[in-house]
């Protein structure tokens, strides 16, 4: 259980303890977010070097197939991001057909990018996602994929939405924590 943060004890970390549903959601993080990872995201996501998706594609896909799930969804980016960056950084890692981003969307474009908000501001943001299609989630075990797990806000909002719409379980998978 918890967010996949690397730590020495087995209790939920401080971030996780803040969340009311901390008993049911858990996230798997493949790597620790360090300087090298920071540089990777600078080049891949912010500079927009889409080729760099290949660096972690195999690792990510392997982690996906290891899960016992019915459906894979990657956390969507805003329409504005799609128009400027031209790709969803999470979808880039996954094999064709593995993810179904279009099922839900990030409704409003963000006034302030996530990375520029402080922790408190991030925790208070309202639900940013909505389902775009009536989709059968009832009884399904969903794997929700994102790039970086920071406070868990994004993940938990998306997970809550999927649970409200009938998902049986939602598990998070992120490249870094």
């Amino acid at each position: 259980m918890g967010c996949g943060r690397a730590q020495t004890h087995k209790r939920l970390c401080q971030d996780c303890q803040r969340w009311p549903d901390n008993g049911t959601f858990h996230n798997i993080a493949l790597f620790t977010y360090n300087d090298a990872m920071h540089r990777y995201f600078q080049q891949y996501k912010f500079q927009g070097d889409y080729q760099l998706r290949r660096v972690f594609a195999a690792t990510m896909q392997q982690a996906v197939v290891e899960q016992n799930i019915d459906r894979v969804l990657s956390v969507p980016v805003t329409p504005t991001t799609m128009q400027t960056r031209g790709f969803n950084q999470v979808t880039g890692w996954l094999a064709a057909g593995m993810n179904q981003t279009e099922l839900f969307t990030k409704a409003k474009s963000k006034a302030v990018p996530q990375s520029k908000k402080d922790r408190q501001a991030r925790l208070q943001t309202p639900q940013p996602f909505e389902l775009t299609t009536a989709v059968e989630l009832a009884g399904q075990r969903v794997l929700l994929v994102d790039d970086i797990y920071t406070t868990g806000r994004t993940m938990r909002h998306a997970a809550a939405l999927l649970m409200e719409n009938g998902a049986k379980t939602v598990t998070g998978l992120t490249l870094a924590r």
């Binding site: 500079q47 927009g48 070097d49 889409y50 080729q51 128009q83 400027t84 031209g86 790709f87 969803n88």
Partner: protein, 449 residues
């Protein structure tokens, strides 16, 4: 944004940045056909697969660090109107030698005729000063000019000198490490990489150290030069060691050429002496140096002669230094390489004459002068030393009026092609230098007879 910032530029803008601009300054950023995916900023023809974004979009992976170009963006450009309110004058007070004056005149004439020209000026000829009359003339015409170099350190060295020589001009200095925003200026100093952001901007474009890495090996930079200068603009290449490619252009008549074969103090270049020593590496592994080198070091110790000892690889620095210290513990010197954290301090100690020698890799080849030194290259036949690098290394010697000669000594296992080419280049300019000396001296000798 201020539309003047688009004069002669080509920059990708976001929709909001471009909102107030007229529609006719919008250009496509990429060319995509069935056969071809090409970036229209850097000219790269891209691998279709590598350049692919989702939903049939493409991006350029070659010029990313200037901000990404893709089919989702446009380039914005306005034609260069030469909208400069003042005409800055030259405030330099120095004097040119007769030969420098002749070269400066040729440069000015080539600017005026808007020609493409190569100036082959030997190391230590004082080529920056020779540009001043031509630049002064061009600025007075209201022309837009740029001085570009492939190397940031060359730009950083040139900028204060040019700014001092044209005190009233505000010179734009553009390179990757400069955080200041771009401003429209009549006079620009920049890295050749930055030229990718210009389109038909300059009436005069000067490329300094044209053969320095990475210009020679990078086709994008040649594209940048071609497109940054106006279609009828003048282009001047400056070099001490022209590449084969440039020499070919001269032979084909695409490029004019003039020579400055004498240094500012009117002396020839020191020639390269080669000593074959096939087993120097084996000796070094045993902690020894070739006997010829040991004798030379003994001589340097006795005469207090300062020197640079070049080696091909960073990993050879420590064993060579250990061997020198084994033979001559009283000889004071240090090792230094490009990523050495104490590089600047060590070079300064050599400048201040606190140490007698430096053991170093290629990094000191350009732009660093220590008056009165000798130069030894151990392993000059290593592939890491290009012809240009060897000529530049040799050019460290004889830079001062007080000691206009000195030893350039290559110790190597074989007399390889790059060494021969370097010797040929030096022989060629020295032949021209001798002719020039005879020509300037002969009127005097007839006057005496």
């Amino acid at each position: 944004m201020d539309p003047r910032e688009l004069y002669g530029r080509q920059v990708p803008l976001t929709a909001s940045e471009a909102a107030m601009l007229p529609d006719n300054c919008k250009l496509p950023a990429m060319l995509v056909t069935k056969q071809l995916v090409q970036c229209l900023r850097c000219g790269s023809q891209l691998d279709r697969k590598k350049a692919q974004l989702p939903q049939q979009q493409f991006y350029c992976y070659q010029c990313l660090n200037l901000g990404r170009i893709s089919t989702l963006t446009h380039l914005y450009h306005m034609p260069e109107p030469n909208d400069f309110p003042t005409r800055p004058a030259c405030t330099w007070q120095g004097q040119l030698t007769e030969q420098q004056k002749a070269c400066a005149l040729t440069i000015r004439e080539n600017f005026e005729a808007r020609k493409r020209h190569l100036l082959w000026a030997v190391t230590g000829a004082g080529k920056t000063e020779m540009l001043f009359p031509g630049i002064t003339w061009a600025l007075a015409q209201g022309w837009r000019i740029a001085l570009a170099s492939p190397r940031v350190d060359v730009c950083l060295e040139l900028a204060p000198r040019l700014q001092a020589a044209f005190a009233d001009a505000k010179i734009a200095v553009l390179h990757g490490r400069n955080p200041e925003p771009y401003q429209y200026r009549q006079h620009t100093i920049c890295t050749t990489h930055q030229l990718l952001r210009f389109r038909e901007a300059f009436d005069v474009l000067i490329i300094d150290e044209v053969d320095a890495f990475p210009f020679a090996a990078n086709p994008r930079l040649a594209y940048a030069v071609k497109h940054a200068v106006k279609a009828d603009g003048a282009l001047l290449y400056l070099t001490a060691t022209p590449s084969q490619a440039l020499q070919k252009q001269v032979h084909r008549g695409e490029l004019g050429i003039s020579y400055l074969p004498l240094r500012f103090h009117q002396h020839l270049l020191p020639t390269i002496k080669v000593k074959l020593q096939p087993n120097w590496q084996q000796l070094l592994r045993r902690g020894q140096l070739p006997r010829c080198l040991v004798w030379k070091l003994q001589f340097y110790l006795d005469k207090h002669q300062r020197f640079l000892l070049f080696v091909p690889r960073v990993k050879q620095l420590a064993p060579v230094q250990a061997a020198i210290q084994h033979y001559f513990p009283e000889l004071a010197g240090l090792t230094v390489h490009s990523t050495d954290a104490e590089r600047l301090e060590k070079v300064q100690q050599m400048r201040d004459q606190k140490i007698q020698y430096l053991v170093t890799t290629t990094i000191l080849e350009r732009g660093v002068t220590f008056p009165g030194i000798d130069v030894i290259v151990l392993g000059a036949d290593d592939e890491i030393f290009s012809t240009a690098a060897l000529v530049q290394i040799a050019g460290r010697v004889g830079r001062s009026k007080e000691r206009s000669t000195g030893l350039v000594w290559f110790i190597c296992a074989s007399h390889d092609r790059n060494i021969k080419r370097a010797q040929r280049q030096i022989a060629l300019v020295n032949r021209k230098g001798r002719r020039l000396l005879r020509a300037t001296l002969s009127p005097l000798s007839t006057a005496h007879s």
